[in-house]
Symmetry: C2
Subunit: 303 residues, 2 copies
């Protein structure tokens, strides 16, 4: 709107982010055009969680990473949707009674409350599977599709997100005591998928290994900063802005950055991580401006 | 052993099947060499179900299909393992209390009994993810890897196996009344994955679309025959040979082929399906002899 505002400020993100989110939303909807072989009740359960709002941070990262590497963001859309499907499935399964037992998600009943436990487990399984179908069927050329499937599976599986969730559940029984242990959990539980969101975008843009590495460094730092910011929001947030009971993690006795480091040090650490993330963007020049703005948004949101 | 016995008889299968199963077993073990990022407890839970025995029917089908299309079966092994991982994950999730609530599987406690519900859900998620990692990282060239991921995801997802499981659970509430409805469920719940097991083997052998179609027809018919045979074993079997309580399905009021058609007609139908499956193998000539023997084995096993 105002050409005098440099593109690297949040003003640009304010304009850019809603447009990108809308494109993601439309693409996610079209991913759910399944045949009659999918029972209507299952499709409804999948859509309930996949199209149920959310920040769309991961798919937006995929598109921005593709842009930073000089690629066509439309070509990266199937990868962006796939990453969001993995995220959505993980929330459905995490909310189950046997796991975190959350009855609310994004201000509405969790999937298993709305559709029953069996259907929720299966909706999660279907979303996880659909993620790989979407990449394998939608990303070209096939070398890139195969590389994207590999990145995503490694990030989401036993050595990544699922492993992190197991470690997180174990930590509830034997609480972790150090920031290093907490970081080791978050690196797998949320960090790996954020990194994959970025490298998938880079791969679609046929980025070289140096650029993929830069995206990785950006992702690792943003991922940890994002988690600290989440913990901080949990301390200061309200049920209204978070869509679930605030202080939930704290009340469950889960260790968080603020509880280990205090609020001020947590905030300082998040800021330092974001600085490192932004430095990793240097090779991309102006093409990395949206990633740069997003990094700052991560620690500035809802405050 | 006896060269006078034609290769297309079961004698050949008796020699061939154990060797193929052993190769699959070894390959599955090596798929589980994960890094320290995988929590030991998770790895144990995955191995408990993946390496816990079973007929290995699906991976063997993959190898035999590859062979029928003139390919190198070693090259198809990652695909064979991936199909078995999908099968193993589906058993873990199907056994959960919210689903079929089975406490026993293959003569030992179900995964969630041995490791707890949360870990069982996550072991299933990890296996599902590892299936795609194994194909994307192990199948060459990348075009074939991408095509295999796509086949497998379509077969396993909302329009395939997961959709079939949802339909099956719905049928428990509103029992299906016709063989056509029962077949529609089984076609998705077990048939689609069997077909994918075959087409993956064909794809690795760079089979043409005609051959893939023949494998598909073989798989559809064997899949339904396999289900009828399973239902029949459930009627006549004992807990000892089945590894779970026999008549379990019948006692739960689940509709089965024998309950809809009677035992004699079920047996006749299974035989007719196997005949059709075998006819579909004609284009493969002698290279299809193991698939031919396996088709007959499906309805002759354990009787």
């Amino acid at each position: 709107m105002n050409p005098a505002v440099p593109e690297s400020t949040n003003t640009s993100l304010d304009e850019f982010l809603p447009a990108m989110r809308e494109r993601v939303e439309t693409a996610l909807q079209s991913c759910l055009k399944l045949s009659d072989d999918c029972p209507p009740r299952l499709l409804e359960g999948i859509g309930y969680s996949l199209l149920g709002g959310g920040k769309r941070l991961r798919p937006v990262l995929t598109l921005m990473a593709c842009e930073a590497c000089g690629g066509d963001t439309s070509a990266a859309m199937p990868a962006a949707c796939a990453v969001e499907m993995i995220h959505a499935y993980s929330l459905i399964h995490d909310d189950l009674p046997a796991m975190d037992d959350d009855e609310w998600r994004r201000g509405k009943p969790s999937n298993h409350i709305a559709f029953g436990e069996a259907n929720a487990i299966l909706a999660g399984d279907a979303l996880l599977t659909l993620a790989f179908e979407t990449i394998a069927g939608g990303i070209q050329p096939p070398e890139v599709a195969a590389a994207c499937c590999l990145d995503l599976a490694r990030a989401a599986g036993a050595e990544g997100m699922v492993g992190g969730q197991v470690a997180d559940l174990e930590a509830e029984e034997t609480p972790v005591g150090t920031v290093e242990q907490l970081e080791a959990i978050h690196r797998r539980k949320t960090g790996r998928l954020l990194c994959a969101a970025l490298t998938l975008g880079g791969r679609v843009a046929l980025a070289d290994s140096q650029s993929l590495r830069s995206l990785q460094v950006y992702g690792e730092n943003v991922g940890l900063a994002f988690q600290i910011a989440d913990d901080l929001l949990d301390v200061v947030g309200t049920a209204e802005t978070m869509g679930k009971g605030a202080r939930k993690d704290a009340s469950l006795g889960k260790l968080t950055y603020p509880s280990l480091l205090g609020e001020a040090e947590s905030r300082r650490r998040a800021g330092a991580l974001i600085d490192q993330a932004r430095q990793a963007l240097a090779p991309f020049g102006a093409k990395g401006r949206h990633l740069d703005a997003l990094a700052r948004y991560v620690i500035e949101r809802d405050r």
